[in-house]
């Protein structure tokens, strides 16, 4: 179980893996995530399930190499097994016919955005997707997003692909010209913060999918706690999606840095090898 059956490089830092796990594939809904562990001494860490095939019994994960654990996962080859894999975790996305959806994905956040875009489209919504990354080689899944969107705007910071600018510029353009009934933002926390501030101006209901630090992922430890609407919530069981306008992003960004020092040491050690 948990055997890797497909591996694709979107870029040298972003990898798509298809993993065999019948049970998770069957129970999974859009928005769910898994907790993985690579090796006996590995760390437990979360990844959103980008896709699932209940018939084949597989799930798709997209990982960006940012540290030791993601590197270890990316280093696995077809035929290797993920030591521990548990899920599906978190509350699934609330998919309904709302009208026009503005789907915004930053960097590797486009991977978990894809199934949500697909589900909203299938529910009868008009879907406008804005995907953004620092540069061309970090733009992923564009074709797949196009398949399920009525329109796609691509933004890159350096202008190497699509239009030059931040995701918020693309969002503004869409908001100015048409009525948006709901917005969903997934990507780096700082991106979600500014995307949320953008839609807040126009009072567009917005959901953000948070990537807090986790240990167990089942609500047991509180490492992933965030403040939403003044109340403490656990990303792993109450989220990972929350009303973006209620999220205390500054606190969340601060908490993401909780182990920065240890991460730097670990990265130095691992990547020197």
């Amino acid at each position: 179980m948990n055997k890797i059956v497909e591996k694709e490089y979107f870029s040298d830092k972003v990898i798509r893996l298809v993993v065999e796990n019948q049970k998770i594939a069957r129970s999974r809904k859009a928005g769910n995530f898994v907790i993985l562990k690579i090796g006996e001494k590995g760390e437990r860490f979360p990844l959103t399930i980008a896709d699932a095939d209940p018939v084949k019994g597989t799930i798709t994960l997209v990982v960006q190499i940012v540290g030791v654990s993601s590197a270890k996962l990316a280093a696995l080859e077809i035929g290797d097994c993920i030591t521990d894999l548990v899920g599906p975790l978190g509350k699934p996305t609330d998919i309904e016919l709302k009208g026009t959806i503005l789907a915004c994905g930053g960097g590797v956040g486009v991977a978990p955005l894809l199934p949500i875009v697909e589900a909203f489209k299938k529910a009868g919504n008009r879907v406008v997707s804005v995907i953004a990354a620092r540069s061309k080689d970090l733009i992923i899944l564009e074709d797949q997003i196009r398949r399920w969107s009525d329109e796609v705007i691509v933004m890159t910071d350096d202008g190497s692909y699509g239009r030059q600018g931040l995701i918020t510029a693309g969002m503004e353009e869409v908001i100015q010209r048409e009525k948006i009934d709901e917005c969903i933002v997934i990507g780096p926390a700082i991106m979600m913060k500014f995307a949320s501030l953008t839609t807040k101006k126009y009072a567009i209901p917005t959901q953000a999918s948070l990537n807090s630090i986790m240990v167990d992922g089942t609500g047991m430890c509180g490492a992933c706690r965030v403040t939403v609407g003044g109340k403490t919530r656990f990303t792993c069981v109450d989220g990972p999606e929350f009303d973006a306008h209620e999220i205390n992003f500054d606190e969340m960004l601060m908490r993401l840095g909780g182990y920065r020092a240890e991460e730097v040491v670990a990265n130095n050690k691992y990547f020197q090898k």
Partner: protein, 500 residues
Amino acid sequence: MSLDPEYLKAERSQEWRAALRSKTKNKERTVIPRVHMPEQAPGIRVKYQDREVNLGITAEQAALEATRCMDCVTPTCIEGCPVNINIPKFIKLIENGDVLAAAATLKETNALPAVCGRVCPQEKQCESRCFYLEKMNLESVAIGHLERFAADFERDSGTSNIPKTAEPNGIKVATVGSGPAALSFAGDMVKNGYDVTVFEALHEIGGVLKYGIPEFRLPNSIVDFELENLRKMGVKFETNFIVGRTASFDDLREEGFQAFFLGSGAGLPRFMDIPGENFNGILSSNEYLTRVNLMGANSESSDTPVILGKRVAVIGGGNTAMDSVRTALRLGADRAMIIYRRSEAEMPARIEEVKHAKEEGVEFMNLCNPLEYFADEKGMVNRMRLNRMGLGEPDASGRRRPVPIDGSEFDLDVDLVIVAVGVSPNPLVPSCLPDLKVSKWGTIVVEEDKMQSSIEEMFAGGDIVRGGATVILAMGDGRKAAENMHIYLQNKKSNPSKFN
């Protein structure tokens, strides 16, 4: 689990026991001082997370201590034990040199004697009812140390007693969780011939025994040994499986599971909701202990990080707080402090834990309570504000209520804070079963003598029923649930129409 006086009388009057009693007069027994558990020296043991503090008594010491027991006509010690272990019997077997038989006796009632011998609060249970203490005002027989001795002896002897199991009856049952409640349930059910699968959400089996209780109190190897025995008996274990998420209860029913034991424990952390509590470096005890005990974060080879605080404050006064603060010390803290709002005498922790903690250099700041936390520009906690407390009117627990003393605020430099003020039942399973009757504070409501929930094929026990109690109580629940689920399933088999 027998308090039946006839049974106890019959056992007591057996020849070998009568012979033992006449061999040594009570007069000689009562002058023997209580055995002293050899302990690792505090200076040494604070350097090691994984070395047990209590080293165990020797065979000679055990035999001598067993001699102290006077084999009372009315063994009140049994009444003090939550699962009514036949205490005099196992002690006398030790005195008789029959340690393996003593271990077998323990196992008749207690699935994990090596665990209980180490973590039970004997001073509140069996030992508090010992004749020595109750009637003679002398130190009780060291029942806990003897239990540990017998269990360890059996493990070390290599001739582990695998209880006989009945013919497999093909009926599949499942547990949700793999802590003490579920493990003892599984042991009893498999003995009765059931096809038992233990489902565990984490990647390791043992629940709180693995992630909660540190190695220096309960080595993981001890737990693993017991798990191996259960495997040998035929219990199946599935890790990384969250019942209700990975597969639903309906899915499992479709796979043929006919009944469930819900033992998912009290894995929901509680915070105090005071300003600054979300700063980095402020962890729930669950998070801290899981990082260290389960993920081995204190070791170089583990990928999981943990903050190695130098000035560590642990809020709380129970066993979890003791475990957390002593772990912090072992991980290199210069100051490891307990901050508890009541006095030392009122702390819920085992007396032995408090004693060990003090020997190791833990600072006890009693009658103090946190008010607020402060952090540096990166959001890392660096200071906390506390209040001193006075004791007011007794509250419902009979203890005097802690009342903040106005104007007594003071600040403390800290770089790691662990909030150990209690845990609540994990809501995951109840949230999957809308028909499950759940109490106001999240515990599963069960019929107390059957451990059966409002859903007839679901039984429950341990912390998910009790809030947050002890290992021995959880085990007692598991056994009671097994006994009654067995009756329920057998009834169902012979009267299928009644259940459709």
